[in-house]
Amino acid sequence: MRESEARSIIEKVLKLSGAEDTSAVITGSYKASTRFADNAITQNITTNNYSLKVSCAYGQKVGHATTNELIDGALQGVVKRAQDIALVVPPDPEHMPLLTSDEAEKYHQLEPYFEDTKKFSPSDKARIISAQAEKCQEKGIRLSGAFSNGSSFTAFGNSKGLMGCYKSTSFEMHVTCLTPTSSGWAEQIGEDISKAGFSLVVDRAFNIAEKSKNPHDFEPRKCTIIMHPAAVAELFTFLFWEGFDAKATDEERTFLRGKFGTKIGGENITIRSDPADLRCPTISFQQDGLVAPTLKWIDNGVVQNLCYSRFWAKKKGKKPTGFPTNIIVDGGDTSVEEMIKTTDLGVLVTRFWYIRFVDPMVPSVTGMTRDGTFLIEDGKVTKAMKNMRFNENIVDVLNRVEVLSVPERTGEYIPVLAPALKVRDFNFTSATDF
């Protein structure tokens, strides 16, 4: 969809609506995903969808409706559904007046859109995958993973004249190499397909799989851990699930209650958001048109900002921040190799798997290591280890970080830039059989 088409649909919706306040968001994507397992393509899909969400308000009474039919005749239907809901619900005291057109001046003008990324075809990908699959087959390795590319689009408009539009392309490749006794994993995520290096990703996964063959048992205990960026991202994302929500925190329902402005982590910990950071660019406005936050959540260990919705900000006399659209964990300059050299006894972790809260108020989590876990002894990686379960307090981890590497692009649910970390006394609690 072109920006002009989206604008025209939004304008039609605003015209059709009889509500006092109306806003509309169009989100859409084209996605082509090729999946493979056991050195062969197992799934190959392309799909295209756009949906329109209309919000209508009469005073404080609000209704929302969504459709993926964007033809003229259907627009009336979705507007009516939103209006009908708004007319019968009780007023929402938290509903805020619409933002006006000057909010758009705060949006970044970044457009990480690369036509070649979108155009990269299923056969382009199949050829690349096939070459790597043959290489793996010869070496007795089973290659699995996915290689996807596509584009996405968001346009926002409201009856106060505020409009915003963002489009981007993305590619993602993640692969697992399997030997009979081990696995190795690697990924690359980006916007510009010309920067993609599928064979390098496969080589990384392959090397991890080779090195982690015939894993040993290890008595679970507290010990030093060196986590690669994917593991760090997986763990730290849990800080943001509800933890930084200002309302929930003020209502004493999050682990940050009473901690605003206090030091919760080491001085080497700074976590922030910046949608315009070219290393992990993302959309600069939220569903209500509010500019997405560019600020530090944790600054040198101190809780510097919480996420304020427009309503809660007004109530508390604060500036609205909205919610993060990306997460950047500032890094340092210690390479993983150097981290290993300075470790007497430790565990090197490629990534985590299935992290869940145990108690979000602590905040404690549990999870498993996956796809390449190694023992470090006297400054060297000495052997592969079977995977382990950990139980940890994430805030406590922020106080045990000894050194950080240069951050890298990763993130499963939200774009994340994270360094590798060396953390002391990481709490491994049980083991598994592989």
Binding site: T42, N44, D92, V358, D359
Partner: protein, 481 residues
Amino acid sequence: MKELCLRALDIAKEKGVSFADIRIVKHHTQIVTTEDERVSGIQDSESMGFGVRVLLNGCWGFAASKNLFRKEIEDVTLRAVEIARASSLAKMGSGVVFAPEEPHEAIFRTPVQKDPFKVPIEEKVNLLLGVNKEMLRVRGVKKAHSFMWFKSEERHLANTDGSFIESNTCTSTAECIATAVDEHTAKTRYFEAIPVNAGYEHIEGTPLLKEAQRVGEEAVAHLTAKECPQGKKDLILHPSHLALTIHESIGHALELDRVLGMEESLAGSSFATIDKLGKLKYGSPIVNIVCDNTDPTRLASKGYDDDGVPGQRWYIIKNGILVDYQTGREVCHTIGAEQSRGSCRADSWQSIPIIRQSNIGLEAGEEHLTLEELIADTKDGIYIEGMGSFSIDQKRLNFQFGGDCFWEIKNGKKTCMLKDVTYQAITTDFWGSCDAICDKRFWQPYGVLNCGKGDPMQIAQMTHGSSPVRFRNINVGGAKL
């Protein structure tokens, strides 16, 4: 619809496919959420489109579009064929072996007495706000949330077997959550109208208002409950909790695509490999696990799966032994099965069908046994209700689960509430320790709404049932920091 479907199949056949199908799907969802005295959101969403899947020279192609008209159907079908050609560049041996299936013409409908989409919003809002009010009346409850969730699916499935299947399913659920806060922490407790395939009559038949006060009181009691002990305890698990344990430690482990390594790069694989079929002691001899996609009220039932295979009922664990898997037409030959078990589902018109969990349940015990009798027979244990924290490794062996509410059992009596209980085990040890199952009067199904699998991620629903069950000597409290 039929004509549009046939057009896609004709084009695919002209291009020489060995199999093709088209699914035209319309989803309607409505979510009403409330917080304390306010309605925090009402979202009414519709999504419609179609997906064409083709198997050409043993390789898959799939394309989908929301634009449901003849020309687009033709283009999308040709695109699917093109993609299948691309897939053949990285092919294993002779490619996919797709099990044959009889042609079926059928219409399947969830029995619905009261269409939830026709029930006035005011009625839903009033009920939820009433429930919140009841929870907030309890001293110590500082926050009340509740929601209703309805989803209907209209599906037309046609394939080159000659099948033409129409289904209309409808899922309804509601839930309330009380949060109690004191000077140290916050704790929650929930109650739900268990997700089932039914209409609004299911919400009306659930005592949400009546239970709200108890939910609030238990949230408050949780704040000052005794710490979880550490060590070995007997566990008595209520069906509202065991549903998730079954889901994670049996359901996912016995999806045949995972077992074969097809999910390796994302959700993972399984320890229960096919060389163990018929041999692996998965649990104690009283453990019988049945898949049942024939009961229309359960969430995985839609008459026929998205491979066009009828819903079935079969054992995957019989007398504690692994005897079968959840299969689809692409993989069933690997265990020597001629017909698929019909466990392939796609979560939308945009998604490709993959093996999803069936309605998997633990059969009730044969001997007369109530929950009270089971507790009375337990010296040193913990009783758990509801779902909480859950984590399991990617081969489904080492797991750690929490729950929603916990009570200590001492010398045959429920003595006091506990907090922060977790238990950790290896799957086969855990099911091997199962020594008592209450009888069928206490068997209850629980629906799971958000099961993620696949890449791109798909979200599926299914139902897991059981009676209260006892497990002996399980490690508890390992999560304590």
